[in-house]
Every structure is written in structure tokens, then in C-alpha cells.
Amino acid sequence: MAQTLAEKILSSHSGREVAAGDIVVADVDICLVQDGTGPLAVRSWRELGFGKVAHPDKTVIFLDHACPSPRKELSNDHKFLREFAEQTGCVLKDIGEGVCHQVICEEFVRPGDILVGADSHTCTGGALGAFTTGMGSTDIAVAIALGKTWFKVPQTIKVAVNGKLSKHVYSKDVMLYLIGKIGVEGANYKALEFCGKTIEEMDESSRMALSNMAIEAGAKAGIIASDEKTKEFLKKYGREKDFTAVTPDVYAEYEKIIDIDASRLSPQVALPHAVDNVKPVEEVKNVKVHQVVIGTCTNGRIEDFRVVAELCKGKKKAKHTRVIVCPASKSVFQETLKEGLIDILVEFGAAVIAPGCGPCVGVHGGILADNENCVSTQNRNFLGRMGNPNSFIYLSSPATAIASAIAGEIADPRKI
């Protein structure tokens, strides 16, 4: 039977040929938790009473959401997770290593793998041709103990993107456009499979921005066939041997096919307070911007900072606009330093914070004041997301975000 990427990967991990709608118990290659979900996962794991971790070398604990810790309660959670890693031999990624979704792709995920994580944006790894998905703490606790979990094999929506992206239009704009079109529930319980010439030409970092936001349409996974670009990415991190080609069958059955002509897209902006409240930037007028955030697991990669630095080099940010820069990982941070990009951003007026989730989760690192507007390259603009329910979050690409920091209001990067 011809299979989608999701069906193929779930079949290879459950010992039988499966199709959309089947309930399967599948082997899990990698598990992750972070500091917001990890303590509860560890407590559930203890409650199970198995006393063992199936694959400690592939169970990764990230301290990335509150890094460094801003409060004693969170410091105690960090201590609790460090001790668990020490006792069980699980891999610990302490503060400063970066956001779980970036680091897990740099160091662990292989095409064809199944990764489950106690974080909704675990779908990021789908960009490497893997089945990666977010679950709650107890599900992950069971996966950590048994090395298995259960899935309902999802139906797949194929998203075919063709055409050349205009200057200063990026994968983030494609994804915001798609979510605006299908809605925040448009892919609930389903997998998205991205393909087409535009995707084939995208580097892995751009693809990761697509997969990262699959959950914003409700999707279980956002998968992209692995290819030469995937191999390039793995090679960069010394993992070329981890490459395998994972592709869907030509006659696989899709629930539907969505065609996007990338050449017609403008930069896109998601307005408060929903990710599907999307407009092209030229229709978003007179929005004063108090804070700009560039980074996070959606758009905090080296390619993003190259774009941003090129646009703001030699310029100064608007006086009333704060700029926060947050690289997605330690290795991205080091690259930005080597290439002199951080220097350009600091000169521009940005505050640089430790690699991690930064202000995206509303814990610290840039909580908004009442009635303030923020343009962020993150993935979510729900009411209260950045720590204050009386503030307004707009989502965009890094180029649109930096253009807005220069103008002091939401601005079109094609016009600076």
C-alpha cells in the first residue's frame, strides 16, 4: 500500500504496515522534556514505579524555558531535573545550551526517527524527515519508561509550495499564510506534509520554521521528506552518517492537497490574539511597536540573524522600540558571534539574552507592559502569552520584525 511520510515512519516503528486511522503502539527513538513540563513528567514516571529509563542516552532534559532561572521556585525545579538526570543517566542540557527544539535537531533527530516531547513545538524536527510530536508530561513519562507510546495514525494534508519567494519573503511568511488560510484548527489531529519546488530549495533552517508551526494549525506533525539539504544540515553538526532518504510513496493517499504559489506572497503578519488572524504586511498600518523580539525556536537560527543584520547594519532602532535578541542555541550564538552579527545588532540597540525560549513563554526576559505592542518572530500570539494579558503580540518573519524596529511601527521589509 502506498504510504504518506507519517504512515511510513509509524509502520517502521510498530512492526506492521499501518494506515491513517489505525491505533498503534510504536517504538520511540528520542524523548525530551523541558523545565516547564519535566518536573511533572518525572513525578508521573516515579508514580509508574518502573524505576528505569528505556533509553537514557536518548532521553534529553532541557532547562530552556526559564534560563537562567528568575525565581527560587524555578531554581528548585531545575535542581530537581538536574538530580533526575544524574540519577538516571539521562542527557542534561543545562541553561545556555539553547531551546530544546533547535538542540534536539542539531544533535539527535535522524530522518525516519520518532521523537516525542513534552512541548507542543516538538513538531519542529519534522523538517528532518522524522515523525516528531508534542504530548503532555504523563505521556512522555510513559515513553521514557517503556520506550514506546501509542498513536492514532494521522490523516495527512499535503501542502505543495511552488514558485520563487520574492525578496524579503520567507518560510515564516508561507507558514503564516497557510495558517491564515486553514485556521488554527485546520489540521487538528492530522499531519502536514510539505513538498514542492519552493520547499526543495529551502535550507533546513527555513524548513524548521514551517514544521515548528504545524501545531499552530493543530497538526500532530509537520513532516518534510529528507534530501540533500537535510544531509547538509546533518553534516554541519558532524552527523552526516545519520542521513537516510525518507520519502512518501508517489500514490500515497492524502486527505487533501493545498497548493500555495509562493511567488504571489507578501510578508505576512499574524495580529492579536490568534495565529490565524493573518494579513499581508501592507494591510497592517499605524501599529506602534514597543518591543521587537528576534529569536526563539521558530526563527532564532543563523540564517535569520544574517537577514536581520544585513537589514539593520549601520542603522539605529526607533527610540521608543526595544529590541531583544535571543539565539535558538549555543551553537547558533557562537556562529552569530563569529560572523560579527551580534556586534551589528548591539550597535543597532538590541539587548542580547541567553539562548533559550526567552520572552516567548511569558516567564521573564521581556514581559510587556499594559497596552504595549510587540512584534515577535515566535510562533504564538495568544492573549497573555508573553506574561501580560493586557498586551498585544504580532507575529512575523525576522525581516519584518527588524524593519518594524527601525520604523518604530509595523513595517514592510521590502521598503527599507
Partner: protein, 165 residues
């Protein structure tokens, strides 16, 4: 199960249920539960009584995977969440921690209605309006997790997933 319906709209995110600004309370669920649904209705934590229901529109529980969201709903005494549809991770989390979730047309329930939910029959009786609403019961596999008292108890009882046997 009988109680009062607290009605909410579409797309109630886990940020509205368990706001990120209380991130530091995640290892102190009793305290976090005092803020349940606070950003959707600031009075909800004071008003809700054991046995009551949360009734909502589509895509309930969208966003973050935080299992704390269904846990504090359950701790507040809510006996089930009834919505037009649920976001996938929340749905799974709720069952895993033993909080019943019901998918049905919630337009027929108004805020403050007294309702009775018959889980195994797949029927809601709206006592205030003297109407009834049918719903599709949970998939069999999820019913067994719920009946076992959640995923931890299910795994302990079956020494793994019952579905794999």
C-alpha cells in the same frame, strides 16, 4: 455527573487555562489551581463548584502541551469538559489524567444551565432547558485509560498498553 455549565467561547488556549506568568507554580498545583481559567474569566476560580462543567466552543485547549491545564481543571472540581472540539494534545492529556472530555454541539447549552452528563450512554441532559444532546463516546482505547483512572494506572494494571496485548 450533574452540575452547572460555565460557558466559554472558541480557541480557549492552555495559556488562558494556566497562564505562563504562573510558570513558577507548576510544581505547586494547589496554588496554580487558584488561577484556573483566570485569563478567560477572572472570577471562574471563585465561582466554580465541585461537579460543575466547563462548556466551550471549538478547539478547546489549543497551544502548549502543558498537562497542568487539565490537571488544575480537575483539581478545581470540574467533572468534565464539554466542547465542540478539542485540540489534540489537551484531549489526550485530559484522558491521561482522568478528566472526562465530551465532544458535542454545545450551542444547545447556555451559561448557568444545569446539566447531567451520562458518559457511557453518550448523552447530555440539559435540565434547565429540558433538552438532550447525544455525543459520540470516546474511542474504545481511551475509554479503557479513563476507566483505569488515567494513563499511569492503566500502564501499571496492564504492564504496558492494553492496546498492544
Amino acid at each position: 455527573m450533574k452540575g452547572i455549565a460555565f460557558k466559554f467561547g472558541d480557541d480557549i488556549s492552555t495559556d488562558l487555562i494556566a497562564p505562563g506568568r504562573y510558570f513558577h507554580l507548576r510544581s505547586n498545583l494547589e496554588e496554580l489551581a487558584r488561577h484556573v481559567m483566570e485569563d478567560a474569566d477572572p472570577q471562574f476560580p471563585q465561582k466554580v463548584k465541585p461537579g460543575d462543567f466547563i462548556v466551550a466552543g471549538k478547539n478547546f485547549g489549543c497551544g502548549s502541551s502543558r498537562e497542568h491545564a487539565p490537571r488544575i481543571i480537575k483539581m478545581a472540581g470540574v467533572s468534565a469538559v464539554i466542547a465542540k472540539s478539542f485540540a489534540r494534545i489537551f484531549y489526550r492529556n485530559a484522558v491521561n489524567i482522568g478528566l472526562p472530555v465530551v465532544e458535542c454541539d454545545t450551542d444547545k447549552i447556555s451559561n448557568g444551565d444545569e446539566i447531567k452528563v451520562h458518559l457511557s450512554e453518550g448523552m447530555i441532559k440539559n435540565i434547565s432547558q429540558d433538552t438532550s444532546i447525544d455525543f459520540r463516546p470516546l474511542p474504545h482505547f481511551m475509554v479503557s485509560i479513563l476507566n483505569d483512572g488515567g494513563l499511569v494506572q492503566h500502564i501499571k494494571k496492564h504492564h504496558g498498553f492494553a492496546a498492544a496485548k
